[in-house]
C-alpha cells in the first residue's frame, strides 16, 4: 500500500502511540509503534498462526475414522476452520512488516514455537471430543479478550476466529455427551480422554503470573487483558458445571471451591512436563513438524503450476492488448 505523505518523527509517533494505548484506542498497521511492541506482536501472532496450522494434524488424524458420515463432515469443517484461522492470523501478522515466506520458513525450520498442546497424541475418538471441549474451550478463554487487543488487525482476526471457535467447543462437548450416554466402555473412553487433556489444557494459559516475565509489559500495552492465572481460574470455573452436565470427573483431587477467595483451588500443575514438551521432547513434536514439511513440499507443484498459469494468462493478455 502506498502512502501519500512522509512518516512522522519518532517523538511525535511515540506520543501518539502512548496516547492511543492510554485512551484504549487501537493501533493500526501504519501507525508508529515501538520496535519491542512490533516484535512482541510478530512473535505472539505468528506463534498463534503456527498453532492453528499444526493444530489441524491431531484432529485430521481422526477424519477417516470418525464414527459416522455426519461426524466426518463436521470434523472436516473444523479442520478447515483451523486452516482458515491460521491464514487470518498470518495475514494480520504480515501487516507488521514480515513476509509470509519468512513466517513459513520459521515454522518449517523449527525455529518458531507453536502451542505445545498440539504435541500430544489423539489416541481415541473421544480425544476429538476432549479437544473441542477443553482445548478449544481454553482457546476461547484466551482469545475472547484478544478481540480487544490494542493492535487492531489482531483484534479483527480474533473476532472472526472466536465466532467459529464456539462451534468447535460445542461439537466437542456433544461428542463427549454422546459417549457419556453410551455404553460403560464409551463412558470410560470419554473419561480417559478428559483425564489426559485436562492438565495440558490448563497449561495452555502459560506459566503462573510470577514466572511470566513478559506478561506485565503485554498488559501495559493492552495486547493482553488478563493475567495467565486469572484466565486459568476463569476457565476452571466454566468447566466445573460443564463436567457435571457431562458426568465426567476432572482429574484433580484437590480441586474445590474456596468460599473465601470466591474461586477454585487447584492442585499443583506439573510444569516440568510442559517444559519437556516445549523443549521438543513431547510425544509428537518431531512428527508434527515432519508432517508439516512434507505437506509443504507435496504442495510445491500446485503453487508452481498456479504461478505459471497466472504468468501465462498475464502475458497472453499483454500480447492481446499490444495487438489491439
Amino acid at each position: 500500500m502506498t502512502t501519500t505523505t512522509e512518516a512522522p518523527t519518532d517523538t511525535d509517533g511515540r506520543a501518539r502511540f502512548d496516547q492511543l494505548i492510554a485512551s484504549d484506542s487501537r493501533v493500526e498497521p501504519r501507525d508508529w509503534m515501538p520496535d519491542d511492541y512490533r516484535r512482541t506482536l510478530i512473535r505472539q501472532m505468528s506463534q498463534h498462526a503456527h498453532s492453528e496450522i499444526i493444530g489441524m494434524q491431531p484432529e485430521a488424524n481422526w477424519i477417516t475414522r470418525a464414527p459416522s458420515l455426519k461426524r466426518k463432515a463436521i470434523l472436516m469443517a473444523k479442520v478447515q476452520d483451523e486452516a482458515g484461522h491460521g491464514l487470518y492470523l498470518y495475514s494480520a501478522t504480515e501487516t507488521l512488516g514480515i513476509t509470509r515466506d519468512e513466517l513459513t520458513e520459521q515454522l518449517l525450520s523449527g525455529r518458531a514455537k507453536y502451542s505445545s498442546i498440539f504435541n500430544y497424541p489423539t489416541l481415541s475418538w473421544a480425544d476429538i471430543g476432549a479437544i473441542g471441549w477443553l482445548v478449544d474451550g481454553a482457546a476461547i478463554c484466551n482469545q475472547v479478550p484478544l478481540c480487544r487487543c490494542s493492535y487492531a488487525p489482531y483484534g479483527r482476526a480474533m473476532v472472526r476466529i472466536c465466532k467459529e471457535e464456539s462451534f468447535h467447543q460445542r461439537q466437542g462437548f456433544e461428542i463427549l455427551l454422546t459417549l457419556m450416554r453410551g455404553t460403560p466402555e464409551q463412558q470410560r473412553m470419554a473419561q480417559d480422554a478428559v483425564n489426559r487433556w485436562y492438565w495440558p489444557s490448563l497449561m495452555m494459559f502459560g506459566p503462573p503470573d510470577g514466572d511470566s516475565p513478559n506478561s506485565a509489559r503485554s498488559m501495559a500495552w493492552k495486547i493482553k487483558r488478563f493475567s495467565n492465572d486469572d484466565l486459568r481460574q476463569r476457565f476452571v470455573a466454566m468447566l466445573v458445571p460443564q463436567a457435571e452436565a457431562l458426568g465426567v470427573t476432572l482429574p484433580d483431587p484437590e480441586l474445590r471451591w474456596n468460599e473465601e477467595r470466591q474461586a477454585y483451588d487447584l492442585g499443583p500443575i506439573d510444569w516440568s512436563e510442559l517444559q519437556e514438551v516445549i523443549a521438543g521432547r513431547g510425544v509428537c513434536n518431531a512428527q508434527r513438524l515432519q508432517r508439516r514439511r512434507e505437506a509443504h513440499e507435496d504442495g510445491r507443484w500446485v503453487r508452481e503450476a498456479a504461478a505459471a498459469y497466472a504468468e501465462k494468462q498475464r502475458s497472453a493478455r499483454e500480447t492481446a492488448e499490444a495487438v489491439a
Binding site: L87, R100, A307
Partner: protein, 95 residues
C-alpha cells in the same frame, strides 16, 4: 514471480443484496481468479456473503494515518452540516 511470493490481495465481501462490500481481510494468490476462489473458501465458509471483490494490496492508495489532524479537520466547527444543529423546529412533525 516465484511460487513462494504470491501477491497480497485485499478482500471485500457483500453480506447480502443491497449492502456495500466491506473489507474483511487479505490473502495471497497468484492471480485475480484464484484470489476470488481463495476468498470464497477463506471468508465465506458460513454464508457470509453473496459477492466478493478482490484488489491487489499494492494498488491501493491511502491517506496518511498521521496526517489525521490536518487532513480531516475541515468539518470541525461546521456542525450546521448536521440535521441536529437545527433545533428551532422542535415539536413540529415530519421535519
Amino acid at each position: 514471480m516465484t511460487a513462494e511470493a504470491w501477491p497480497l490481495w485485499e478482500v471485500f465481501v457483500r453480506a447480502s443484496r443491497g449492502l456495500s462490500h466491506v473489507h474483511v481481510g487479505s490473502l495471497h494468490a497468484p492471480d485475480e481468479e484464484l484470489a476470488v476462489r481463495n476468498a470464497r473458501d477463506l471468508y465465506t465458509r458460513r454464508g457470509e456473503g453473496v459477492s466478493i471483490w478482490v484488489v491487489r494490496s499494492d494498488l491501493i492508495t491511502a491517506s496518511d494515518p498521521d496526517a489525521k489532524d490536518a487532513f480531516f479537520t475541515a468539518p470541525e466547527g461546521k456542525n450546521f452540516r448536521h440535521a441536529t444543529y437545527y433545533t428551532a423546529a422542535e415539536g413540529v412533525k415530519h421535519l
